[in-house]
């Protein structure tokens, strides 16, 4: 009987060992290897790949941080009012509204991003209309192929990952708490600032992590909506791995990204206060 909890844990543990721990170790070993695809790779303990990764790709790392960060902030600014409205004003339409938030995601990530490319294209329905029918934009105005388009694409693609945790946190708030704040002389805004928002912080934390981490590693938006100057670190990893077959460098880049994320999230958790996350 005492073994029961361990038996229940076994499938999950095994899964993690095979599909997470083992590949991660492999990648770690790869990042300190030298060689080529044709001659094979030997673990030599060389840190050259790390050196190259840091010295050659600061711009791409910077782009990832910048675009991922900007998209996370934008998602928060767009997502909070949506989550708030659904949670507090949704009434019996709550489920329908939540469905509408997720509905676009029944189509593939790629299709959606390609549609954006079409929508935002130089002669697409939006810009074409503004340029030729209304004439409010100059003919050379372009959106696709800019960092703006990349950030917009990431913002769009990760919005539900922000809205859903925010909704869960806001929905849990007892409306009586807001009444209590009003009763204790807090205006609507003060009640929001002192009660609603602090209580929604766990959702803000979860939502921003869920948006920021995958956004950092994203390469699809930069590929489809950006230009060579807007390459993110994901694009570099992709090309090193699949095109140039420089496995050690790809592995080293991945590890630097992972380490960066862990450090950033730890600082962020400290900043928001662990008590809010557990309480």
């Amino acid at each position: 009987m005492a073994a029961a909890p361990f038996l229940l844990l076994a499938p999950g543990t095994l899964w993690l060992l095979i599909f997470f721990v083992w590949p991660t170790l492999q990648m770690l070993l790869m990042s300190v290897s030298t060689g080529s695809l044709d001659d094979g790779y030997q673990v030599t303990g060389s840190l050259d790949a790390y050196g190259t990764a840091i010295s050659r790709f600061p711009k791409q790392f910077g782009n990832s941080l910048l675009y991922g960060g900007a998209a996370t902030v934008l998602d928060f600014l767009i997502g909070f009012p949506v989550a708030y409205t659904v949670a507090f004003r949704g009434g019996r339409y709550k489920n329908l509204l939540l469905f509408l938030v997720i509905a676009p995601f029944f189509t593939s990530f790629l299709i959606r991003t390609i549609s954006w490319k079409t929508l935002l294209g130089d002669e697409g329905p939006l810009l074409g209309f503004l340029k030729h029918s209304l004439g409010v934009l100059p003919a050379e105005f372009t959106v696709t192929g800019t960092s703006f388009a990349v950030v917009a694409g990431i913002t769009y693609n990760f919005l539900p990952f922000m809205i859903l945790p925010l909704y869960v946190a806001l929905e849990k708030i007892d409306p009586a708490l807001i009444e209590a704040a009003n009763d204790l002389y807090a205006s609507r805004w003060q009640a929001f600032r002192r009660v609603t928002f602090p209580l929604a912080l766990p959702g803000v934390f979860a939502g921003s992590i869920l948006t920021f981490i995958p956004a950092l590693g994203d390469y699809v938006n930069a590929t489809l909506l950006g230009n060579p100057q807007t390459q993110m670190i994901g694009n570099v990893i992709l090309s090193r791995y699949l095109t140039l077959n420089d496995y050690p460098l790809a592995a080293a880049l991945s590890f630097i990204l992972m380490a960066g994320i862990i450090v950033a999230v730890t600082i962020y958790a400290r900043f928001l206060g662990t008590e809010q996350l557990t309480g």
Partner: protein
Amino acid sequence: MADVAVRLTQLTKRFGDPAGRRSATADGSPTAEGVTAVDHIDLEVEDGEFFSLLGPSGCGKTTTLRMIGGFEQPTFGRIELQGEDVTWLPPYRRNVNTVFQNYALFPHLSVFENVAFGLRRRKVPIAEVKRRVSEMLELVELPGFERRKPSQISGGQAQRVALARALVNKPAVLLLDEPLGALDLKLRRQMQVELKRIQEEVGITFIYVTHDQEEAMTMSDRIAVMNRGRYEQLGDPEVLYERPRTRFVAGFLGVSNLLPATMDGQADGYAAFRLGDGTTVRVPTTVLEDQSGSVAVGVRPEKIRMHETDQASPPGFNSLGGTIVDASYIGVSTQYIVRMADGRRVTVYEQNVERATKSELWKTGEQVVLAWSPDHCFVVEEGGGAAPESDEELNAVA
């Protein structure tokens, strides 16, 4: 005479329909599509008074309280607070504070910050905030709890924090919405005494909403017994218990025996009423108000004495013959159900004193005579008044 703390004038709240739209039912009587939770209430609560709104769920007591607090806007009518019209003011502009049903303590703030919340919003200087919060925690007997979070204290303690959080602002009126509802019986009793002590100590007007008649009676200076959006009777606990005016009040506060009767003349300050089985009972004319139509004469079970059929009732007492059909020994008293000649049942409580020590408790099947002083009678109107249990359709708005 004390000043008026709260005055309600024709206060009305309807839920769920455009105000006033009505449709006719098959029998032609008009019914509102929505629910009238509070129906043209006029009420004055005096300064410094412990006032209770008592009634079953759905009677409109909580809605009335929420309108005074500003959480609900009336469909019609006016609310004055110390002479000032506050009907349309938001909660944060009213000098009232509320103790909520489930306390509604802010889970992310410490006990200290919970209590200080109102003072901080009013920009009270820090030193004074500290002084007043610790004074208040002293008053509710929770000194030393400042740094705890609401999740780290018990229900009874949370209750005291909620009280402190409201009282620290020195409101003109404190509103309490079934504040003891979530506590167990023993703690409830203890908190009832405590609440009354605190109210007397701070001298603030309390308006207390409850469905528990014992709770209302223990603490209140005056009680309004509410039913179907109106109050049926208003008075101090003793008057409500001894002289209920309606069938509903008689049934909601304690247990009553109500015997349908018709008036049969008056003499010497007493009115004679003929009961269903032909017996006549006397009632002091002082308890008669302008009850019209068919009435019922009421008497509380503990006012009735029982004796053998061959004994005479005390002179001037009302008496009735009957058969004991049920006897239950409760400890402090024994409860008997006595069936009268016309089949009506009368409940009698007898203190377990002489008969109990002599093992001579009445037994089922014995013939007895019930006797009680006319002064213990009250008269209620029959028919119209709804019984407490028949208003389930209003429960939704509780």
